[in-house]
């Protein structure tokens, strides 16, 4: 049997398991095709060859959902995310069920793949734009602000993402909890210190020195507005004038806040 036959055979095994009684599926059984590379290739084959698989549509959608879930959440296969995103938008356009695909996409926790959603902000299809805005609701203002065209909307996202992508934590929210889950949130303390975080935990990746620990402890006592203001100002100064940023960060919080407030006044 050559590689292609092996992949197809494994894919058919997955499909027959997926289309059997879904309530008795066991993950370990499905991973019993114990060659990880073969399993991954077989699952990708299902996604790529979905239009040629000869089973009823309702079963096929179910099998595709499970394929996407395994690839994204178990194998963390970022290569399959463009197809998963495309399928989620396609089903949205057809008013078909896409909640599991959306879950799979975000569960991969691959920050840069957010662009697969954001690129739809520039679509000529209004339903795609509306759906993309809904999925990106962790970007403040993206659903509330008026934009003169889709390019401006995309630029707004792009600027926000460039500023905040290093500080994003995956929340794990889903449609099971609410109709408008917020899939990511900015870890403001990390942005304030300008240190990147681990996407899954929100923990700052670099080791904090004593001074950082004192700063973050004081920062965490502030209200959300003050935290947000200081984090934005800190990021901006770190980017524009690192010498000043170091001086500013050595000031007591009330002074830091005073400068940040003046900056807001200045840019308004």
């Amino acid at each position: 049997m050559d590689d292609f036959d092996l992949i197809q055979k494994a894919a058919m095994t997955f499909i027959s398991q997926f289309t059997s009684d879904i309530y008795n599926l066991s993950l370990s059984e499905n991973l019993s095709i114990n060659n990880i590379q073969l399993s991954c290739s077989a699952l990708k084959w299902i996604l790529e060859s979905r239009n040629a698989i000869d089973i009823p549509d309702s079963q096929l959608d179910d099998a595709i959902d499970k394929t996407a879930i395994l690839l994204a959440s178990v194998y963390r296969d970022k290569e399959s995310l463009p197809i998963i995103a495309e399928l989620a938008f396609e089903r949205h356009r057809k008013n078909c069920f896409n909640h599991d695909l959306v879950w799979a996409f975000f569960e991969a926790q691959h920050i840069n793949s957010i662009y697969l959603i954001a690129n739809r902000l520039q679509s000529s299809e209004p339903m795609d734009v509306a759906f993309a805005r809904k999925l990106l609701n962790f970007v403040p203002g993206i659903n509330e602000l008026q934009f003169s065209n889709n390019q401006q909307l995309y630029s707004y996202f792009n600027n926000w993402f460039e500023e905040n992508s290093s500080f994003l934590r995956y929340t794990g929210e889903s449609y099971s909890l609410k109709s408008d889950p917020t899939f990511y949130e900015v870890v403001l303390g990390a942005k304030y210190l300008c240190k990147p975080v681990a996407t899954d935990t929100g923990q700052i990746l670099q080791r904090l020195n004593t001074n950082d620990k004192i700063l973050i402890e004081e920062f965490n006592k502030l209200n959300k507005y003050a935290q947000s203001l200081l984090a934005c100002y800190s990021y901006e100064m770190h980017y524009k004038d690192k010498n000043w940023w170091n001086i500013w960060l050595s000031y007591p919080l009330p002074f830091q806040f005073m400068y940040a407030n003046a900056w807001i006044g200045g840019i308004q």
């Binding site: 599926l25 879930i69 178990v74 879950w103 794990g172 909890l177």
Partner: protein, 254 residues
């Protein structure tokens, strides 16, 4: 603290004026001893919230014994005399029937329906309001109902999810999250459950059970090797009691 028309009131003064059951008395006591201020425009507004919370608990018990099956959206089903199944797996009210009859039918003919846990919560809210509102008002307020987890909710129900609340009350819908769910049992990624006020919860698919049991069931459905336990989240979902009272009050006084 409880304030009515701007004046702070004690639980005793409320108990002297209203006939309340134990669940309602406990809610009043929790509100009164809380650091948070609970403001009501009138005693009637408070009474309405207490009654609706009890109605939510009663509707949960009724749904539990209705025979409603647990199904994921791709396998959901409904009584097509009252509802049409959408391509997403939700249910839309048919034009030819009233919303009150259609909601009642789910409780009367539960075996003709199958859906997942969040949709069951929404069904409970509609039934709880129906049991308190005059039928005419209910049909006027909710002429179009679509049931599909937390989507397509009728605005008049005012359902919202609130995070990090200082207090939780019977009648709240709470969420048990299973962060390491077995991805092939995604329907157990979390469980919506109504707090019944006696240490038990109604969770569609699990029945009436305790918090520990819900967590145990979710934990049995994690990825192999997972060490992250399921847990009860710090949030609650409930309807807009004040808005519902305002409509009720206007209708009954007109």
């Amino acid at each position: 603290m409880i304030r009515i028309s701007g004046n702070s009131v004690t639980p005793e003064s409320i108990f002297n004026q209203l006939s309340l059951n134990n669940v309602q008395r406990n809610i009043v006591n929790t509100m009164a001893t809380s650091n948070t201020r609970y403001d009501f425009a009138s005693l009637n507004q408070l009474k309405f919230e207490l009654d609706l919370r009890v109605s939510i608990i009663n509707a949960s018990r009724k749904l539990n014994s209705s025979g409603l099956a647990f199904r994921v959206f791709t396998k959901s089903f409904c009584n097509t005399n009252f509802w049409s199944r959408t391509r997403e797996g939700g249910f839309v009210l048919k034009n030819s029937v009233s919303s009150s009859e259609a909601i009642e039918d789910i409780f009367r003919n539960g075996r003709k329906y199958g859906t997942e846990c969040a949709t069951a919560m929404v069904i409970i809210y509609y039934k709880a309001v129906l049991d308190i509102y005059p039928v005419e008002l209910f049909n006027r307020m909710f002429p179009n109902i679509q049931l599909m987890n937390w989507h397509y909710l009728n605005r008049n129900l005012g359902i919202n999810n609130y995070s990090n609340l200082p207090d939780y009350f019977p009648g709240d819908c709470r969420y048990f999250k299973n962060p390491d769910v077995n991805p092939l049992r995604l329907y157990l990624q979390g469980e919506n459950a109504i707090d019944l006020g006696n240490g038990t919860y109604y969770a569609h698919g699990m029945g009436i059970t305790t918090r520990d049991d819900i967590i145990r069931i979710l934990n049995r459905n994690r990825k192999p090797g997972s060490r992250k336990s399921a847990y009860l989240m710090d949030n609650a979902t409930h309807p807009d009691f004040k808005h519902l009272h305002s409509s009720y009050s206007s209708f009954t006084h007109s």
